[in-house]
Subunit: 250 residues, 8 copies
Amino acid sequence: MDRHDLKRLLDQVAAGRMTPERALERVRHLPFEDLGFAKIDHHRALRQGYAEVVFARGKTPAQVATIVKRMLAGRGKQNVLVTRADAKTYAAVKRVARAAKFHPLSGVIAVERSREIRGKGLILVVTAGTSDIPVAEEALLTAEMMGNRAEALYDVGVAGLHRLLEHKGKIDAARVIICVAGMEGALPSVVGGLVGVPVIAVPTSTGYGASFGGVAALLGMLNSCASNVSVVNIDNGFGAACVASVINRL
Amino acid sequence: MDRHDLKRLLDQVAAGRMTPERALERVRHLPFEDLGFAKIDHHRALRQGYAEVVFARGKTPAQVATIVKRMLAGRGKQNVLVTRADAKTYAAVKRVARAAKFHPLSGVIAVERSREIRGKGLILVVTAGTSDIPVAEEALLTAEMMGNRAEALYDVGVAGLHRLLEHKGKIDAARVIICVAGMEGALPSVVGGLVGVPVIAVPTSTGYGASFGGVAALLGMLNSCASNVSVVNIDNGFGAACVASVINRL
Amino acid sequence: MDRHDLKRLLDQVAAGRMTPERALERVRHLPFEDLGFAKIDHHRALRQGYAEVVFARGKTPAQVATIVKRMLAGRGKQNVLVTRADAKTYAAVKRVARAAKFHPLSGVIAVERSREIRGKGLILVVTAGTSDIPVAEEALLTAEMMGNRAEALYDVGVAGLHRLLEHKGKIDAARVIICVAGMEGALPSVVGGLVGVPVIAVPTSTGYGASFGGVAALLGMLNSCASNVSVVNIDNGFGAACVASVINRL
Amino acid sequence: MDRHDLKRLLDQVAAGRMTPERALERVRHLPFEDLGFAKIDHHRALRQGYAEVVFARGKTPAQVATIVKRMLAGRGKQNVLVTRADAKTYAAVKRVARAAKFHPLSGVIAVERSREIRGKGLILVVTAGTSDIPVAEEALLTAEMMGNRAEALYDVGVAGLHRLLEHKGKIDAARVIICVAGMEGALPSVVGGLVGVPVIAVPTSTGYGASFGGVAALLGMLNSCASNVSVVNIDNGFGAACVASVINRL
Amino acid sequence: MDRHDLKRLLDQVAAGRMTPERALERVRHLPFEDLGFAKIDHHRALRQGYAEVVFARGKTPAQVATIVKRMLAGRGKQNVLVTRADAKTYAAVKRVARAAKFHPLSGVIAVERSREIRGKGLILVVTAGTSDIPVAEEALLTAEMMGNRAEALYDVGVAGLHRLLEHKGKIDAARVIICVAGMEGALPSVVGGLVGVPVIAVPTSTGYGASFGGVAALLGMLNSCASNVSVVNIDNGFGAACVASVINRL
Amino acid sequence: MDRHDLKRLLDQVAAGRMTPERALERVRHLPFEDLGFAKIDHHRALRQGYAEVVFARGKTPAQVATIVKRMLAGRGKQNVLVTRADAKTYAAVKRVARAAKFHPLSGVIAVERSREIRGKGLILVVTAGTSDIPVAEEALLTAEMMGNRAEALYDVGVAGLHRLLEHKGKIDAARVIICVAGMEGALPSVVGGLVGVPVIAVPTSTGYGASFGGVAALLGMLNSCASNVSVVNIDNGFGAACVASVINRL
Amino acid sequence: MDRHDLKRLLDQVAAGRMTPERALERVRHLPFEDLGFAKIDHHRALRQGYAEVVFARGKTPAQVATIVKRMLAGRGKQNVLVTRADAKTYAAVKRVARAAKFHPLSGVIAVERSREIRGKGLILVVTAGTSDIPVAEEALLTAEMMGNRAEALYDVGVAGLHRLLEHKGKIDAARVIICVAGMEGALPSVVGGLVGVPVIAVPTSTGYGASFGGVAALLGMLNSCASNVSVVNIDNGFGAACVASVINRL
Amino acid sequence: MDRHDLKRLLDQVAAGRMTPERALERVRHLPFEDLGFAKIDHHRALRQGYAEVVFARGKTPAQVATIVKRMLAGRGKQNVLVTRADAKTYAAVKRVARAAKFHPLSGVIAVERSREIRGKGLILVVTAGTSDIPVAEEALLTAEMMGNRAEALYDVGVAGLHRLLEHKGKIDAARVIICVAGMEGALPSVVGGLVGVPVIAVPTSTGYGASFGGVAALLGMLNSCASNVSVVNIDNGFGAACVASVINRL
């Protein structure tokens, strides 16, 4: 509801083409749907070109299924993405969305309705170790469902630099890079120093001891001396892919 | 030193157009300059289109001046930026760089040599409060020195939403937004929800008590539910502008 | 046992209307009941108009049932509330209190004996997301059991401001507002800025990663720039409702 | 800018009594004043019955004086309060506001323009120790400037219970209580257990060692078992008084 | 092995009453028994008058049983105490020690062999709430097994002061007091202020949210303004009773 | 004001030997003196045999001097102790107390009025390093002013065990031991294992880096496996000596 | 790929003994094997003389077995070590490696193919308590698999010094010492003070309460005043043995 | 004082070649010197081949000078090293030690009396940035004073990998490497992966914001995946050099 919309509305009222009551109604009728326990924001998907997304943790399978059902009934043909789901939630979703596919490693349920590529370049998802792959997969699937070409490069931590440098070509080909690392918070610094494109860093909670559930990696990434690196929450592969996706459409 | 460069080098050696000794020399002669206490990376500026930058904290005024002098002697005509400087450092820099200007609020010294605009859109710097302005100024000056159009919008914290919503037009005009906030870590969430472009969040250390030097804002920003928000280090206005600048050239 | 009571007692003793022994006895006989493992404070319920409350965590089902039984045998007709209970505890309580109802989402057991409304206005419970509902329900049920009209408004986080602003009318109708949020510690700031009544903020432990079990939300709330906001412990829906209830009777 | 206002505006436009341009202008012209570095929110003062307030830390003396000057030029006759000020800021303010008084212990500058009492009862400010007095004074002055009767009770920490119990009469007389404590986070619990009115707890940073700048007191207060206690930020005497003031007008 | 012992040994060697080899042997043969995975320190029990103690956590049932068996075979008639045990460990211990009794609330296994009272006065164990009882029981049983008279006073938290003050007589009768509290770190301060004897404070991990597993209580206790309070580790009822026991023999 | 006192009072009233008014007065007239900003608790000194103590930090020199003056005017002949004072405060105190002596290392001002030894044994103060001496001195002076024989043993950290073991005789002679350490939190464990008497551990803030202002030492002490060790706040030499003094009189 | 290698390569190309294409290929063909989800670094084992190692946590049993299979197929005859494995992973590994042995206490799977001793001296693994043994066993097995003589000394915590001093001979015989401790972070300090060889400290997460999962021990070790002590991550017995092994070959 | 020494002593006594009194005296007379406030451990220097060292922080200039004087009067010809000193301390030391040299950047005072090289190889000190040089200099000087060849390599952080890789030759030449980094905790991981020798990591407190005084770097280093890396305290250049020196003599 920006100034421009308001101006047009007022013009219509002034011109007698719309009653004040109806104008008020339109102002009020914001494009989200109220399910009581949740308010679906169709508008955001439309406005930001996102897929529609449900964060499953903290919701019952029935709640998630209801939300997905309403999303599929919406106007657009956006893809629908459920994150942090388990097998039970998948079973419930499957009943309302035949096309739903489950990726158990990352807990992602994807309902693909569009294969349109809207991102201008490649989003590359890089991990430091094998145990960072679940978070990387969440990022990869999210990036794809939001209309991007996306590729992965796993297990290229900085304690064995040659593994990373070997793939310099792939790294140079990306328009946006997502770096996922739990014990080696330095990966984004090293990668960021090699390229001239934005790097989104995702700390993961996969370490032990003084990794403190991802805090060590998070701090390492925030202190990066590579000036093209920004950071999202621990384990937030989804968020990293959203940021990358928004950038990739610019 | 990527695969392509290496290939060409090897071709020249194979063709007898270059001796192995000289090839080795060229491989070794990477484009940075070694001052002993610091290694100036002219290459990064060239490669990433950045201004040349010196982080003054932890360096003596003489060291900073020496680095600036070498930078100005470099091949390109990049702008030179000194961050976290004080009056003494400025005096030393002024002697080697007549054009240097000092911004005491943010501690930035700027030596402008080029006004070329290389960023495609507007970078908007938004602050929650008046005390966040020094960090915002660092971001603003950095963005400008790196060839972007940049504007500021100050004191629009979320506890008085109308102050923010009033400027919806300006916010919608930006291609990248930098949100600077010390007590109201929520500002990026609110701004991020209003727009469809990338938002770079910068926590500041300006609060007191349970703000813990910016940690409260940092955590609030990392937990943002707006999916176009990523975060940089506390008080790192410079870094936010670098990330924004890299994005703005895409 | 205040000065006034003591004065009256001494007067009676001085007038020979009461023996010193009996006076001593009365002084000693404070209105709580000692079950050995717990001391039921009937007096607090009387004095503060609260329902009688048992915090079930850390107590065996048998202990909780015994306490509830004694409460129901007490002088007043206060409602009895058990918080943080599970199905086993409910089974035990059900045996001594036929009217007990269990709310599994929040773990609240409610034994309603009075529907008297003692609060002067409406207590509104607002959540940022769906996963904050269990804590909100604890607050809602507590507020009701303590004699208040209470309503809920769920899933109106600040990353989608229009969802919140749509309900401005409901928000304006409240005399006290409880804001429950786990990832968006900013909700109370935004709500607090919209109204002129007290806002009680409840951080929840529902986030992940850098939400640190509710700490991020807690810090965000403590740093709120809206000056009508105060905060209770993480997940403490019960406490928020008690504070709201005390205020609502003023 | 609520629904009611909008409806009336639209009616006027529909009735031809107002042009769309002018309506738009009025919508835009929110009642705050833009000084560039700060946006004065006259509206909040009007809407919430608060005094106008400037948080001086992080602002230059000149900035504070400019803001105060504009506040005094505003429509209402609200008191003006500057918090966290020092002698230099006071000197600057004194020049634009003859009536300004400085309280160096707490750093409060008060410009009293109205002595109207708008709070219904007494606000009592209690401290655990002598070193908590500066924060308590900020609370006391704020409460008074916002139109409340306010009194203080200092140095009644729980390690010497009789000092507190001696003043039971005063405590019982209060409608809202503010508890200020840096080493004895327990004071609000004890006071809260003695009364049936809201208690606002303010941790202070006055301890040493494992008090961690007020964190120990903050945590103690958040864990309070007295259910009428809520908490504000460390050293935030101002905020506590605002919350108390909002409650005291109900 | 102190100077006095060494002197006597050297005298015997010098007098030819002992060979150097044998002296060396005696110096080496320190009074502990080596089971490979553990070294039983019979000497400490003898030296400090303690019961023999096994900390079961991190040891297998078989290991614990082996240690207990060796302890019972030792010279003295000390009581044997196993802390942090579960039912499986109890079953294993029962096989080697018929007299063993299990206290499941606290996880203590006690093998009583002596009822001699060696402590000079009463050790009183006080808890703030019902959920603190397991830790209190560990303290109580330890105190008894180490030859002290010990009593308990449960659920007398400071948010209901009259519950505590009612038992002033019992409190005054103690020679050493152990205060156990998880949410009300203030209890030791209040109790410490009422008496002139040592108070040992034990924080417990029984709270939730911002109690951070006992940290809030721990910090509250360390900041106590009552100068007769010292603190042991979170949940360390055993340690508190040991300290109390050492004091009670002075 | 215990039950016994109340009983006697009531008897006197019943017997007509005291009017109710006077009885009330006596109940009210608790033995502390109210200076407004502070309440001197003469009673505690009497009751607990402590010296009278002022914690100077957070009080003005004038406030401290006023309190000391009133203390010296009190009934008893207790020593008067001011902790955490500086030279200015000493100058102010010196004016009201000729006998005052200042110990600048620890910031202690001592006004000795009694040399009576009331503690039964020796209190030994041990430090790990030279930089722990200021806190140790506070403990030493406090112990002496409270009527104990006290001695010091400095710079005997565990990284050079022989320095400690050399003084085994002195250590064995103590009835209570105070262990002061900032980098070697292990000292109390080692000392505690050598003796059978209570050990009070005092962490100090004298380390750097990961000592975190004494936190490392504090945690090390709380985790001590020597079961005769309890802990006080970081740098709290005064508190350690108070605890030791209370124990030493048993 | 160091300068020397590159030089030789260029020489060969210049001499026409190698085509540029092939040279490029060799530069690219770094000696690791890419399994997609993991990149096996045979080179590191060769280069550093390590056994080949798999960190099992975060990998599926099938993934671990695949990696082990490839390792056994490698050129060298290095031992293969799997850390942090469970019974399921062992079953999968057993199928591809008959010689595999499982150590359930530490979760180590060892496939011994070489008994060559390459370390020059003895590596001694010392623990403070019995519950530190699992981490110590990981260190012990790792040290052995990497070609070192290694011995263990368990349960010699500093609270019972004589247990440690008794084994002075064994301690003096070591060339490198690994100190493993969860509650007594002081053990490395004490051991380090007794010897003149490097001490690697390993904090463990075996304590409770204020041990904070090993943080207390970690901090104690970092603050060690013994100057031959360095530290690895909490529970990182493997890492400690690697460091010790690298040192032991010097 | 090990078993061997004791055995010989006892032999002498048994043989009548030494009186028991004298034997006792020798046992007692450990080789440290007691200055009251400090105990100089000449023995450690002898035993471990270290220079004699004074940690100046927390000691007065006079104390440091006295210690240095005694050290110079000792038997050996060890170098004397004072760390964390300032100009005042230097002035005091200069008076007792003509040869003393002051390095203001690191605060090291060095009194060189021996140039003997006792370390077998090169110790290389590497820093990530210019602001890490003070800590690196402390390490460099310490390594030299302890009889090692030592070199430095500054400003080779991982965000510009080529700066590091350029010096691969120098890195390969080292026998022990010390990595000093404040913002790039990853440097030791990268360096450790390039070499087969021990790497000692030193976090520094030179960053800002979320570097938390060196904690971010510390955590990054503890989580290193390079298995030849161990860590010392933040800013502890001295300790790193001691560890390196002990290793370099093996």
